[in-house]
């Protein structure tokens, strides 16, 4: 290894006017936003929502969540992400400081199963003030129990912690929602991965 990695540093509390400008109403463009798949994307349209909790169980109002996922056919997009795109983008970014209940949300389609996995899932990165290094996790889906049982990564997680990675399907008047909270610490501490 010729060069050492540049250390990670915290995203801090003031990222919004640089990274999530549209969501927070700053005068700057976005390269990504909470829409991962626009209305023209093929697949089952869903919303993923959740809250990030700190070690005292308080919701975090200055986290930023990013997701990267395959399309409904289980393929990661090679097309450049473009926020004017009305189809599938693959990337989403959302801060937790604008929703009244401090939730993150993503409007997307349910991903298909990618080539080296057993079940559908969304890749997730958690950033916030108080994290010097971002943390990787995944969201799986609770209505895919059969496939979840075949997913090598999910099955590598101790059984008593697997539930922290599984979003719960809820039918709401506005459509299908999957709900999953991120617990940074405590009995329900989310499983994070060394990716």
């Amino acid at each position: 290894m010729a060069y050492g990695e540049t250390p990670s540093q915290t995203v801090g509390p003031y990222f919004a006017y640089g990274l999530t400008a549209g969501q927070y109403a700053y005068d700057f463009t976005d390269i990504a936003d909470p829409t991962v798949a626009g209305p023209d994307a093929a697949g089952e349209h869903i919303r993923i929502t959740g809250t990030v909790f700190d070690g005292e169980g308080n919701p975090v109002n200055d986290a930023m969540i990013e997701i990267w996922q395959a399309d409904a056919n289980g393929v990661y997009s090679e097309k450049p992400v473009d926020v004017s795109e009305t189809g599938f983008r693959g990337l989403g970014r959302c801060g937790t400081g604008t929703d009244a209940k401090l939730r993150f949300w993503f409007d997307t389609v349910k991903p298909g199963v990618v080539e080296d996995a057993g079940a559908p899932f969304v890749n997730v990165i958690v950033f916030m003030r108080g994290m010097l290094v971002h943390a990787f996790t995944r969201f799986y889906f609770d209505d895919e129990a059969e496939l979840n049982a075949k997913d090598p990564v999910l099955q590598s997680v101790p059984a008593d912690r697997r539930d922290t990675l599984i979003a719960k399907r809820v039918e709401t008047p506005t459509g299908i929602e999957y709900r999953i909270d991120i617990h940074m610490q405590g009995d329900a501490e989310t499983v994070f991965f060394d990716v």
Partner: protein, 233 residues
């Protein structure tokens, strides 16, 4: 697609670094579980050219309303490469920072220092085919924060990069050489390895300095390298 070498945790801070108090309740307490890197980690977003507009790389101009922003103009440039020294072309680099007085545009920032009506403090650019990037900006000021009595953040610029894959994602901060606050800053010091910390400090560069216009700083950014062999199917 290839996979990336494992993260070198020795170059990074622990999740809980008690000197930086917010980590105590926000850092995961359980060690991250290692997983075999595959297509999900090896792929990552690319961005449309329209993601970067003409003035996005020039923070001395991209927030102008009725005049020039106040403060010391600087030009920050460097190369994005991997741990094997391979340049990383076409990488999106996003930055944000405080103004010369140490005040962020962010609504939550309550520091009693003036906003600059002509400075927003955010920008972005792509690296060129040699992995080089360049921003014009204003040297950010130091500012107080609530971590401990008389705590001040050293001058810094926040930098966010996607790199070639989801696994290479990096958010970091660039510091300035000779800043006396560095040795007192629990965020900078959160990285325990002194040699790794040095990689967070830009170098003053007279070569990059533009005559009569702006002081030059060089800040190279090193992302994880690729494994030598293509991924097995």
């Amino acid at each position: 697609m290839s996979t990336f070498k494992p993260r070198d945790w020795g170059s990074h801070a622990p999740y809980i670094a008690p000197g930086y108090k917010s980590t105590i309740l926000r850092g995961p307490t359980q060690a991250p579980l290692a997983i075999k890197s595959g297509v999900s980690e090896g792929t990552g977003p690319r961005f449309a050219p329209a993601s970067v507009r003409e003035l996005d790389f020039d923070l001395t101009k991209n927030g102008v309303v009725n005049g020039e922003p106040l403060g010391e103009r600087i030009v920050v440039h460097g190369r994005v490469m991997d741990t094997d020294g391979r340049p990383q072309p076409n990488i999106l680099v996003e930055i944000w920072q405080a103004n010369a007085a140490g005040r962020y545009v962010h609504k939550v920032d309550q520091h009693d220092a003036p906003l600059d009506p002509n400075f927003r403090g955010s920008g972005r650019c792509f690296t060129d085919d040699q992995g080089n990037y360049k921003f014009y900006t204003i040297k950010p000021g130091a500012y107080p924060w609530g971590n401990h009595f008389n705590a001040w953040r050293p001058n810094h610029i926040h930098i966010s990069l996607f790199g070639p894959g989801f696994a290479t994602r990096l958010v970091t901060q660039m510091y300035f050489p000779g800043d006396p606050l560095l040795d007192l800053d629990p965020i900078f010091l959160g990285t325990e390895d002194a040699a790794a910390r040095e990689r967070l400090i830009a170098k003053f560069s007279i070569e990059a300095t533009e005559e009569g216009f702006a002081l030059g700083y060089q800040f190279d950014i090193v992302l994880r390298g690729r494994n030598g062999t293509p991924m097995e199917n």
